[in-house]
Subunit: 342 residues, 2 copies
């Protein structure tokens, strides 16, 4: 790892510094070339660092801020009224070049809007998108899905740009050559779906730079049919959250089932590790970050209720994206004149 | 049960008569007041009945048809070119009043389009919808969700009518008084989502006849927050299929996990019944039917790869809807002047 500086929104997320600071300490202890700028309440950060004898750790610095973007703050108000928030400052540091990426577990809407406002999109990108990798049947393979909620509706041109950005992520972050790109639809037949999706299918089919494989349905998200699945933010968000909801329900049903009788309870005890292991793989944003891509800087969003491991993984995700120069590669692809609106 | 006559599309579904006829035999043997009209290839049906010594069963009659709507037939062509198909005739029998409901496991798009064409919508209903009940954390409660794919996009007025039709289903079929109605959205805050959903929220909030509780997200489909969840067909279809996809993936992961080592294999064997039981509750359209509502007749769609139990359950679902007069109750609600476009 070359020398890297990342800005952390220490105050963001349901548990704020109780999660973000231990994750930061773990990251710097494991990566000696990593430098983290901790944006947040100076006194609180100092207390945490001093408890851990890390006040003088040269890999850590504090950027004191006085405000916090709350989980229910409206995005527009966060931009306008919380200019000295930990979230805003972490993004400002990326914008000024003092940090190479920002990691936050804070309010998604506010993070998205502020990041868009502060960092701006890469030239040629019309809309940034929220992307994450999801588990599949094959333990060693993931599927990238975007947009997961940054944009409500996307026209065909925007969907095509998402396809391109998703392909860059799959290639650079997961090392998949010529990744298979699919559009999420309500059927596999060409005649199915909304006009924007049908138009995007035509545009993607005509583009030799993109390995477009056609439509997939919700049940095929996890079957490794595609490496990248493209949809608008509304649909992506519903699919992602439905996925979380089903996983949680199955987990509850197993627990209930095994609590019903003595044999069940004994079996349940024996099985707890297996059940936990399976379910751990199912909620990706619990252990990984989702990224805002299409911006002139790297922003990784950790889950609001992320634990230390999850936030630590989000830091590593940011490291990976910085090292592999994701924004630069998206820019280069777009400069080839691909997918510009005529 | 009062005397009932239902029309079965015997040829529909991946397995056609091999599934539909055994399900029909089971239904008539258990319900002496039930009469089933078997629409399909006369010779095939006769062979099945004669193998089971049921040729002279007075509860069964054959309606011979010469065509079959294939699973990949385009809806418009099915309507135009397959007027003597088992699917079409089963719907014609409902239209003529010779049967009180139609049950089919055939091509969803063709069934929807043909049913709409043959039966027409209830006066005041702008679009029919596909509705099904899904499992929840609470084993004894289900949640109704619509539209599951009959319509790509729905404006606010149509969403409000779906809310009303869903409420009628929850009240009459599940006996839920004053059912809680929610709109599926990408966030719970009022400012989130697309314009049609935000407008529908305003209209539903202003309607005293509907117990509208607000927006829910994908992860809340299964938590009993709402009794009825309303969305457009695209989103509903993606959510439903994502649900199926996750369930299948979890099942695969469990199997893989338990096959990995000897202890795992032994534990896995002990657990197979529990795992199967949990997963059986997760794929509702495998054991239950989805209904097309808003039409002047009852149409229950069984899953394309339904087995005998699933198709039998779809027959019982149709019986329930006939007995509880679902279309009549939707009509009555609409005649109260509720939710008419101004």
């Amino acid at each position: 790892m070359t020398n890297l500086t990342l800005a952390l929104d220490v105050m963001g997320g349901d548990k704020g510094p109780r999660v973000t600071i231990p994750a930061a300490l773990k990251a710097v202890s494991e990566y000696p070339n990593l430098h983290l700028i901790l944006c947040g309440d100076e006194a609180i950060i100092h207390t945490f660092l001093s408890k851990n004898n890390q006040v003088n750790n040269p890999q850590l610095s504090i950027y004191p801020t006085t405000e916090v973007v709350e989980m229910d703050d409206k995005p527009s108000l966060a931009i306008r009224n919380k200019k000295d928030s930990s979230m805003r400052k972490a993004l400002d540091l990326v914008s000024s070049g003092d940090a190479q990426a920002c990691i936050s577990a804070g309010n998604t809407g506010a993070l998205f809007a502020t990041a868009h406002f502060v960092l701006k999109t890469i030239q040629g990108v019309e809309r940034p998108a929220l992307i994450s990798s999801l588990p599949t049947h094959n333990e060693n393979k993931h599927v990238f899905m975007l947009d997961l909620g940054a944009n409500v509706f996307c026209d065909s041109q925007v969907l095509c740009q998402f396809a391109l950005m998703g392909a860059v992520m799959a290639e650079t972050v997961e090392g998949i050559k010529n990744p298979k790109i699919a559009l999420l639809n309500m059927g596999e037949e060409e005649i199915k779906g909304s006009d924007n999706i049908k138009q995007a299918a035509v545009q993607l089919s005509a583009n030799d730079e993109i390995n477009y494989i056609g439509f997939v349905e919700g049940n095929d998200i996890f079957t490794n049919k595609a490496d990248v699945i493209v949809c608008d933010g509304f649909v992506g968000n519903v699919a992602l959250k439905t996925c979380e909801g089903v996983a949680r329900m199955v987990y509850t049903k197993f627990k209930t089932h095994f609590l019903n009788n003595l044999t069940g309870r004994i079996l349940g005890k024996l099985l707890t590790p297996a059940i936990k292991k399976v379910f751990k793989t199912l909620n990706p944003d619990q252990y990984n970050g989702a990224s805002l891509i299409g911006l002139r800087g790297i922003v990784v969003k950790s889950h609001g209720n992320a634990n230390v491991t999850a936030f630590y993984s989000a830091i590593l995700e940011a490291v990976k994206e910085v090292e592999r120069q994701v924004p630069e590669k998206i820019k280069a692809k777009l400069e080839q004149g691909l997918l510009q609106r005529p």
